[in-house]
Symmetry: C2
Subunit: 321 residues, 2 copies
């Protein structure tokens, strides 16, 4: 088994390649070519019952593909207090012919960041916006950075506004987006302000309470909800889903169990069959749905094994194993 460190992985993955690979994988999923078991989830709580970390295992296999993948991603949100990154993980590539481990991508969770943001870019791209459109980001962690990077790249946007719980962290993220990506990024002091000036809004926090309420929203907004990927998490108030013209999920069952969509369904705000599928949209199966005319649209992303297979394939192709 080849053991591949992050330094070796990073140069093999470009933003456009990762978006293309994830798009193709989601289209293959829509076509029934990818099998992915239900994700495995572990939650870590303190003695007082309070939540401090989680670990997700996702996997996928594709008909005719030489490899299948098992991806482990951990988020331990108090790691910053001891100087460690919150996110960690690795990706295991196995042979579909023999079951032998082929490569261990010790990516420290970086590939999960990229493939998640690649799906975010594809989800954001459902809404036709001009290049002067503003991208709002709720959250200031690594995924906030990568969503800004991939969405702005994919849609040719340059304006970003950020809100996070800690204003200093918002400022810091904006500085990185300015310096490293040449974006015009500004920190704001309320989620309301970010919503009001944005055309596309991405939420990327581990919040367990809604951060965005219906009263925060402008007349027209395309929301991509990324943070909620466990039953206890929730970023988008359930009534937002009720008022949405279109609701999209990356994976219906996962979003029902783990995402903001499920919170809204359990709150009785929307029906279980109220959402359409992002993979189906990308595969051109919902041509009647017109995002340009819709006012409020929400995409709920929980992350799919198919994305892990896609991004691992980019790396494995680059390694020429």
């Amino acid at each position: 088994m080849r053991i591949v460190q992050l330094e070796e992985i990073m140069p093999l993955v470009s933003l456009p390649n990762s978006i293309d690979a994830v798009r193709e994988a989601l289209i293959a999923f829509s076509g029934g070519l990818i099998d992915q078991p239900s994700p495995m989830q572990m939650l870590f709580t303190k003695d007082d019952g309070s939540f401090f970390g989680d670990c997700h295992v996702k996997s996928a296999q594709q008909q005719g593909h030489p490899y299948f993948v098992i991806k482990i991603a951990a988020g331990f949100y108090q790691n910053a207090e001891i100087g460690l990154p919150a996110n960690n993980g690795l990706l295991l590539v196995m042979s579909s012919q023999t079951g032998s481990p082929v490569a261990l991508l010790q990516d420290e969770g970086w590939l999960t960041q990229i493939r998640t943001a690649a799906a975010g870019a594809l989800a954001a791209g459902l809404k036709p916006v001009g290049q002067d459109a503003c991208l709002g980001i709720i959250g200031t962690g690594s995924q906030a950075y990568w969503q800004a990077a991939l969405i702005s790249h994919h849609l040719g946007l340059t304006k970003v506004v950020v809100y996070g719980r800690h204003y200093a962290a918002s400022l810091e993220l904006c500085e990185r987006l300015n310096k490293e990506l040449g974006l015009t990024a500004a920190a704001m002091t309320t989620a309301y302000d970010v919503c009001q000036v944005s055309n596309i809004l991405v939420t990327v926090t581990p919040s367990t309470e809604p951060l965005i309420n219906l009263s925060d929203l402008p007349d027209e907004l395309h929301i991509v909800a990324v943070g909620a990927d466990s039953p206890g998490k929730n970023e988008i108030a359930p009534e937002i889903m009720k008022h949405a013209d279109v609701i999209v999920t990356d994976n219906h069952d996962q979003c029902l169990a783990h995402g903001d969509f499920g919170v809204a369904v359990r709150a009785g705000m929307v029906a279980e069959d109220a959402a359409i599928s992002l993979p189906d949209l990308l595969a051109g199966k919902h041509s009647a749905v017109d995002f340009s005319r819709a006012k409020l649209t929400v995409v709920d992303l929980t992350g799919m094994g198919a994305q892990d297979l896609a991004i691992a394939s980019v790396v494995v192709d680059g390694l020429k194993l």
Copy 2:
């Protein structure tokens, strides 16, 4: 992350230690101290739909334990044709405090063999037998070897009889058991013969059709069914469960979904609540159940993440990480 090869792992694991560790983990599970998500399962089929491999992912976390584990085990049953072992896999040890990978045990599936056989030994040990009792094994793969090794060690048995589809493979296994473990092992040409002379019978095949029927059984037999761990697998005819005085499962829900117990329930032969729990038995919670008086008893094992945590802890303790 420490990467540990099989050669380094093997000397750290003794048979008694592995049985003790698995017993303690199952008792902890019975006490509600171990959480293990539902296993993840991938099946691999050829273009004609025929099954040739599977991969299981299991995980477990224990209250107060410094590590949690994610275990990957693959079984690709045609690998022998190209000179590769059927079983492969690895075990990932992660920090319960930070979510960081701590060690990758590149055990090639060996630890899964040992922890599975350790549970087999504990399951076999439910039945009080004398040291002249005969252990019957149906199957000739690695797990057949390890079940023979751990059960004979644990119960002080010396007589083993073996039946497999290929007589040559049965002979080869017996030779290994004789030479390497000093057991008196004999190959037989029918499953019926093995059943008739055995006091304890262990089934360890990937069969999808029953290998043991009610008419094969002697008056008294304690069966440990290990092979069936996917919905399509089945070694023990459903009517055997119907006639059993006691049915035990390692994990009720898993055995219902993946084991011989589930096959019997779906065939209408036994009720869903007909089985008692191996972890509860080991924890002394079923003291009224008397295996010495029972004639026909069946233990259905599907393998638990708790066992992987137990065996990984033996290795990690030995590594002094």
